[in-house]
């Protein structure tokens, strides 16, 4: 079961200081909550690049391939023979390839977002406060029971408005 300490901050620099101190002290796994994306947290956390782009690429390539395939297969299976004209022709079929590239690529991107961000989430789980979608920044440190005190001290020293333990 997850156990840890949650700090709510009104100031962004205070939250960044807390993250830096927690990382330095190797207290535990850090989750940051912010009402809007801020580069300050990216700098503080230095997370890896999002792999959502791989979902996009695979989806887009699959969609384009399917678009060409369905139009060529459909034309060959139910041929409309017009003298001197090819039964399958790539120029108009690029429209299907393009549209399906966008459709499948776009939906794969959303699937990538959901998988990587782990949404839909059925419960809020521990370490969340409704203030984090309003005016506050949140820092949740998931750590062992013996490190809880240290985490609390760091969060308070950094300037957290409110600190509480959750499990």
């Amino acid at each position: 079961m997850a156990q840890g300490m949650l700090g709510a901050f009104l100031e962004i620099d205070a939250a960044c200081d807390a993250i830096a101190a927690l990382r330095k002290g190797n207290v535990g796994a850090i989750t940051v909550f912010t009402p809007t994306p801020r580069h300050e947290f990216e700098h503080a956390l230095q997370p890896p690049k999002s792999p959502v782009r791989k979902f996009t690429l695979i989806g887009a390539l699959s969609g384009a391939t399917f678009g060409y395939w369905i139009s060529i297969w459909g034309s060959n299976y139910w041929p409309m023979v017009v003298g001197g004209k090819p039964i399958s022709t790539w120029i108009p079929y690029t429209i299907f390839a393009f549209e399906l590239m966008v459709l499948v690529g776009g939906l794969s991107t959303v699937a990538g977002l959901f998988i990587m961000a782990r949404v839909p989430r059925l419960t809020m789980t521990v370490g969340y406060d409704p203030r984090f979608s309003g005016s506050h920044y949140g820092v949740w440190v998931e750590c062992a029971p013996e490190k809880l005190k240290e985490a609390e001290t760091i969060l308070r020293q950094a300037g957290a408005e409110d600190v509480r333990s959750e499990q």
Partner: protein, 479 residues
């Protein structure tokens, strides 16, 4: 002690009058902190008598449209104004009109996002919702136009035993793919952008039933840095996909005409001409919607005059492109030396359809030239009036493309007239009711301005003064 970082410009009256619209963080001087953003934008969700009255008007218009359509289904397509040779009329005109309206939403939400144009932030949600409802409206018209709507699934190209083989070389089949993709991606883009705002509504909600509903709709979004990181990447890719998509959709709609051997239609200029016209008409509708919203909801400090100014410049630019396309059409007809083409354009402007062509030219080419004046670009009342003329002019542009072409083909025996009936007009009016009904419902359920994105341009609260914060490696400009 906590200090609030000062924005670039402090006083609303001091807003620069020649804003750099290419700047990512166009400031909102009168918006001070996150709590103000939440409070003011959530206030727009409160029901009012005025809103209810408008909804009743929209539903009333929709009822007129529905009654007209029911009558047409009962009596047959003959009650519409079709008579040979003009067998495409108000329904196809209105279809192209609404598809065009739908284009500004994606332009503002996706293309301007990629260009980091700051003026999109407070108007894009409205434009995105407009796109979705406009495409929903447009999608009804091919079904109304076929006369027997219960056979609409015949439009979908799949192999079957009805001797209707899928013809992948037909522009009508391209249309089905393009518009279905556009609707799906537009809805997805709108919904993904809404997730953080629904989470904000959920967290502020006191009513347990509503809270539960919003929890489901928000997919349990928690605003964690991990969620935002993937969200930003996904949003970027969706924008990157939507940009060529918006260009392709109206190009494909233009192919419905340009692939046909009809004078005035069979021309290579149609795709860019349609795309520019679509963006122009969409900007017109954005102004029609956003100007009353900013006034009634008291959001003038979010949709500032600088933002209106920037939008007006975009409208002026697209008007010039559209005007250029009109003139190029005349030139091509003259320079081609083809008598039929020349006759067609003469008939369009000085003959049978002169009044429609001059409504189009006045509303789309002449009146928007007023936007060269900065004073008028910063005058919401004028922008609203002009936007109504643009809506009218763009509907007539589609009339001018479709009806004169079909009524004046190659041989005199193919010449004829066209007069819409009350059924056509009723369904046209109903389409506005349908569109505005959805829009009015939307603005009272979900934020019409993106809360999370506005917070990005509001300077965050700091414990130390801004100078020390900058040294820390952080910026007040946000994402």
């Amino acid at each position: 002690m906590a200090t609030l970082a000062q924005p670039d410009v402090v006083n609303a009256a001091d807003e620069p009058k020649r804003p750099n619209i290419a700047k990512a963080g166009l400031p909102l001087p009168a918006v001070k902190d996150y709590a103000q953003v939440d409070r003011e934008i959530m206030n727009t969700l409160k029901f009012s008598k005025g809103w209810f009255a408008l909804l009743m008007v929209a539903v009333g218009l929709l009822a007129i449209g529905a009654a007209s359509w029911i009558y047409q289904i009962y009596a047959g397509l003959g009650v519409a104004g079709y008579s040979p040779p003009v067998m495409w009329g108000v329904y196809i005109i209105t279809f192209v009109f609404w598809i065009g309206i739908g284009h500004a939403g994606t332009l503002i939400s996706a293309i301007l996002y990629l260009f980091r144009a700051g003026f999109r932030t407070t108007i894009y949600r409205c434009a995105e919702a407009m796109t979705v409802f406009a495409v929903m409206t447009a999608g009804l018209f091919p079904i109304i136009h076929i006369g027997r709507p219960w056979k609409f699934f015949w439009l979908i190209p799949y192999p079957n035993w009805r001797l209707l083989w899928p013809n992948f070389k037909s522009p009508l089949v391209w249309d089905v793919f393009a518009i279905s993709t556009y609707l799906t991606i537009s809805v997805t883009f709108l919904f993904i952008g809404l997730l953080p705002d629904i989470a904000t509504l959920r967290d502020a909600e006191k009513n347990p039933i509503k809270k539960q509903l919003l929890s489901i709709l928000s997919f349990g979004w928690r605003n964690s840095e991990n969620e935002w990181r993937h969200f930003a990447r996904a949003y970027l890719f969706l924008a990157a996909f939507s940009t060529p998509l918006v260009l392709s959709v109206h190009s494909v709609v233009s192919f419905d005409f340009s692939m046909a051997l009809v004078p005035g239609w069979h021309t290579t200029i149609f795709a860019p001409y349609f795309v520019a016209g679509a963006i122009f008409s969409g900007m017109g509708m954005v102004f029609t919607i956003i100007i009353p919203i900013r006034k009634w909801f008291k959001l003038e400090h979010y949709v500032t005059l600088n933002i209106m100014d920037a939008g007006a410049k975009l409208t002026l630019f697209t008007s010039l492109v559209v005007g250029c396309a009109y003139l190029a059409e005349f030139f091509i007809a003259w320079y081609s030396g083809v008598q039929v083409e020349q006759d067609y354009f003469w008939n369009r402007v000085f003959g049978q359809w002169w009044w429609t062509a001059w409504i189009m030219l006045t509303c789309n080419m002449i009146l928007p030239l007023s936007l060269f004046s900065q004073k008028l670009r910063r005058n919401p009342a004028w922008l609203f009036i002009l936007s109504l003329f643009i809506n009218l002019g763009m509907w007539y542009e589609r009339f001018v493309i479709i009806v004169p072409g079909l009524s004046h083909e190659f041989e005199p025996w193919q010449w004829g007239g066209y007069r819409p009936t009350w059924v056509d007009i009723g369904i046209l009016v109903g389409s506005f009711g349908w569109f505005f009904m959805w829009f009015l419902l939307f603005i009272k359920q979900l934020p019409v301005i993106a809360i999370a994105e506005v917070k990005e341009i509001v300077p965050p609260r700091l414990r130390r003064p801004a100078a020390a914060h900058a040294a820390h490696g952080a910026t007040a400009g946000g994402h």
